[in-house]
C-alpha cells in the first residue's frame, strides 16, 4: 500500500491502471477531464499496457468500449456533463449488450447556461439506461469503488456497465491523501476478466440484431435480472475488498447515527461529509438526527430505504440536481420505496448544491431545522440567491 496525495480524477486513473484495463477510449477535448490525460501518461510511459483510442466524440468513445468489451476486453472511459449527454444512445447499447464497461463521470451542471460546477443532473438524466450508478464522497472512495465496479460489472450474474461518479471540483480537482493498494492486492481481488463468448476476432457473429416483440421483452427481463443481482453481489464484493484492504464503504446506503434518529437526511456525494459534521453538532445539542448516504442510485436500494424508514419519522432527501419534475429525483425514489408502508415517515425533498453552489453547514442546519419543524412536501430550493443578502458587484 502506498499513500499518495491525489485528486479525484487521478484516483480514477490510478484505479483504472490497477485494474489493468486493456482498452481506454477517450474524446480528449472539453468536457473531458484530467482522468484520461493521466491515463494517457500511464500508457505513454509504459506503465499501463493498454490500447488507448482517441476518438472524435463521446458517442464514439463509448462505442469503442462497447465493441472492445464484446471482444472480451476490460475497458474504461471517462466523461462529464454534456459529453455524457452525447453518449446517451450508446449507454443503452452498453447495458443491452451486457458490456461490463466502467466509466468515470465527473458530475457537472448541464448547460444552458454554461456551468462546470458540481451537479448531478448529467448522471441522473441517465437513470433509465441500465447502468449501475455509484456516487462517491471522497477520493479514497473513488479509487476503491472503481476497483469494486469492475468486479461487479464483470460478475456473470450482473454483466452490466457501471458509472463511478464524483462531484466536480469537490473531488475532481481536490487533492487529498489516498491509500493506493499494491498491484498484487488488486490482482488477487480482481483477476483478469473471464468474458463470456460474445465476439471473437476472425469468427463471424452478430450482436444486437433485430428482435421483434416476440423476444425483445425477454432480453429486457434478462437485463432486469442482472440489475437485481447488483446489490447482493456488491455485498459479497465489499466483504472481500474489506478483507484485503481494510476498507468498507458500507454498501449502497451507509448510515450514520440513525438508530434512534427522529429525522434522517439522505445525501449523495461530497455534501455527505459536511452533513455528517452537522449531525455530530446537532447530536451534542441533544437533537436526534442521523444521516444516510445514497452511494448507489441505480439499482435503487429500496430495501435499505425501507429499513431506514422503519425507525425514522422524518426523512429529508437532498438532490444536487433539478430534474424539471415535482420532486427531486432521489426524493421521488425514496417516497416510492416507502409507499404503502404503515407508519411510513414523512419524506421531504430539498434541492441544494445545484450548479456547483456550496452546500454549507448552515444549509445543512436549515434542512434539519425544516425537517424537525414543519417539513413541506417539497421540493424546497435551498439557498436561492434572492433569499439571502449578497454583495452585488458594481
Amino acid at each position: 500500500m502506498t499513500r499518495l496525495v491525489l485528486s479525484g480524477n487521478s484516483a480514477q486513473s490510478y484505479a483504472a491502471r490497477l485494474a489493468r484495463v486493456q482498452v481506454v477510449a477517450a474524446y480528449p477535448i472539453t468536457p473531458q477531464t484530467s482522468i484520461v490525460e493521466k491515463l494517457a501518461d500511464f500508457v505513454a510511459d509504459g506503465e499501463l499496457p493498454a490500447q488507448y483510442v482517441k476518438v472524435e466524440s463521446e458517442h464514439s468513445a463509448l462505442q469503442v468500449c462497447v465493441s472492445a468489451a464484446a471482444l472480451g476486453a476490460r475497458t474504461y472511459t471517462a466523461t462529464s456533463s454534456q459529453g455524457l449527454l452525447l453518449m446517451h444512445e450508446l449507454l443503452h447499447w452498453a447495458s443491452g449488450l451486457r458490456a461490463p464497461i466502467v466509466m468515470g463521470v465527473v458530475n457537472r451542471a448541464v448547460a444552458p447556461p454554461w456551468n462546470i460546477g458540481a451537479d448531478h443532473t448529467d448522471t441522473i438524466a441517465q437513470r433509465d439506461t441500465g447502468w449501475v450508478q455509484f456516487y462517491a464522497e471522497s477520493n479514497q472512495e473513488v479509487l476503491d469503488t472503481v476497483l469494486q465496479a469492475y468486479r461487479l460489472a464483470e460478475d456473470l450474474a450482473v454483466r452490466l456497465p457501471v458509472m463511478v461518479n464524483e462531484d466536480a471540483f469537490y473531488l475532481s480537482h481536490t487533492v487529498e491523501p489516498v491509500d493506493v493498494p499494491d498491484p498484487a492486492t488488486v490482482d488477487a481481488f480482481l483477476p483478469p476478466r473471464t468474458p463470456r463468448a460474445v465476439l471473437e476476432l476472425g469468427v463471424g457473429a452478430r450482436v444486437g440484431s433485430f428482435t421483434g416483440p416476440d423476444h425483445y421483452v425477454e432480453f429486457r427481463r434478462q437485463v432486469a435480472r442482472g440489475l437485481e443481482s447488483v446489490l447482493p453481489t456488491l455485498t459479497e464484493i465489499e466483504v472481500d475488498y474489506a478483507r484485503r484492504t481494510g476498507r468498507d464503504h458500507g454498501g449502497p446506503l451507509p448510515t450514520y447515527r440513525v438508530d434512534d434518529a427522529d429525522a434522517v437526511l439522505v445525501t449523495m456525494g461530497t455534501m455527505t461529509t459536511t452533513a455528517r459534521k452537522v449531525v455530530d453538532e446537532l447530536r451534542t445539542q441533544g437533537r436526534k438526527v442521523g444521516l444516510a448516504k445514497l452511494r448507489v442510485f441505480r439499482p435503487f436500494p429500496a430495501e435499505a430505504v425501507r429499513a431506514l424508514g422503519a425507525t425514522a419519522d422524518r426523512i429529508g432527501v437532498v438532490d444536487r440536481s433539478y430534474t424539471f419534475a415535482g420532486l427531486g429525483a432521489a426524493a421521488t425514489e425514496v417516497r416510492s420505496a416507502l409507499y404503502g408502508r404503515t407508519g411510513a415517515p414523512t419524506v421531504a425533498s430539498f434541492l441544494a448544491g445545484v450548479g456547483g453552489r456550496d452546500v454549507t453547514p448552515q444549509i445543512v442546519h436549515r434542512m434539519f431545522d425544516a425537517l424537525l419543524s414543519e417539513p413541506g412536501t417539497g421540493p424546497a430550493w435551498m439557498d436561492l440567491e434572492a433569499e439571502r443578502e449578497v454583495t452585488v458587484r458594481g
Binding site: L97, R98, R159, A197, G204, S209, F210, G212
Partner: protein, 284 residues
Amino acid sequence: MIEVRFHGRGGQGAVVASELLAHAAFRDGKFPQSFPFFGVERRGAPVTAYARIDDRPVDVRTSVTAPDIVVVLDAGLLRRVPVTAGLRAGGLLLVNSPRRPEELAGLGPFRIAAVDAARIALRHGLGSVTLPIVNTAVLGAFARVSGVVSLDAVRAAIESFSPARQVENAAAASDGYTDVVTAEVGPIPELGPASPRTVPLVLPEDPVASRSSETLPTADWRSLTPVIDLGRCTRCNFCWKFCPDNAIEFDAAGWPVLRGEFCKGCGICAAECPPRAIAMRAEA
C-alpha cells in the same frame, strides 16, 4: 366484426391493400381499422398487415391472431410463413396463385379462393415480371369472395387513394373480381379456434446471435432465381460486384456461381450483366 390478415412481401403492396380495404369499407358506411406489422423493412421480406371492419367503431388495438379472412399476396409464402395460423375453420383463405383453389385444399378446412393476380397486374402494366404489384387485383377478388366490401367501393378507394396508376389499378381490381375462383367446398369439419402457435423459446443469455450471417440462409423470401448462361458470360465480374448479398462466387476457372442460400432474387445481377447472360426464373 370481420378481422382480416394480409400476408405479402415487402414491395407487393400488402400494406397498401390493407389501407385501401379500410378506405373502401369506410365508403360502404363501415368502421374500418388497418395497420401493418413488419420487422426488417426490406423489399421481399415477409410483411403482415391487419384490417378490421365493423358496423361500429373498432375498440381493439392488437394484432389479428384469429382472423376470419386471410389474404396471401405471394403463394411462395404458403410454405414459409404459417399464414393460416389462427384462421378459424370455415374461414376464407384468398391466395394470389395461378393454381386452381382445389389444389390448395391441403391448407386446411377453409373456404379457399384463388386469383391469378400476377397475370392481371402484368396485363395492366402494374409492376414488373420480377415484382408484379398484385394488391389491387387481389382486393377486387376480395370484394367478390368476402362480400365484406363492394367492388364499387374498392374501385373508388383505389381511384382516390392509390399511390399511382389509379386507372390501371381500378381496372385490375375489376379483373380480380371477375377472375377469382372459389373452391367447391364440401362439409367443413367443426373445429374450435385454431390452437395458438407455440414457439419454443430458447434465447441466448445475451442479445447475441452466436452464429455468423454466413451460416444463416437468408434467401427464404426469394421468388425468382437468377440463371446464369455461361455460354454468354464473359467473366466480367459485374454480377459479383453488384450483388448486395454476396450471393455470387467464382469457381476455380473464374466462372460465376450462385450461392442460392443467400440470393434473395432481387434481379440486380440480371439488370447489370453487360452480355445479358443472366435471366430471372420464377421459383417452382
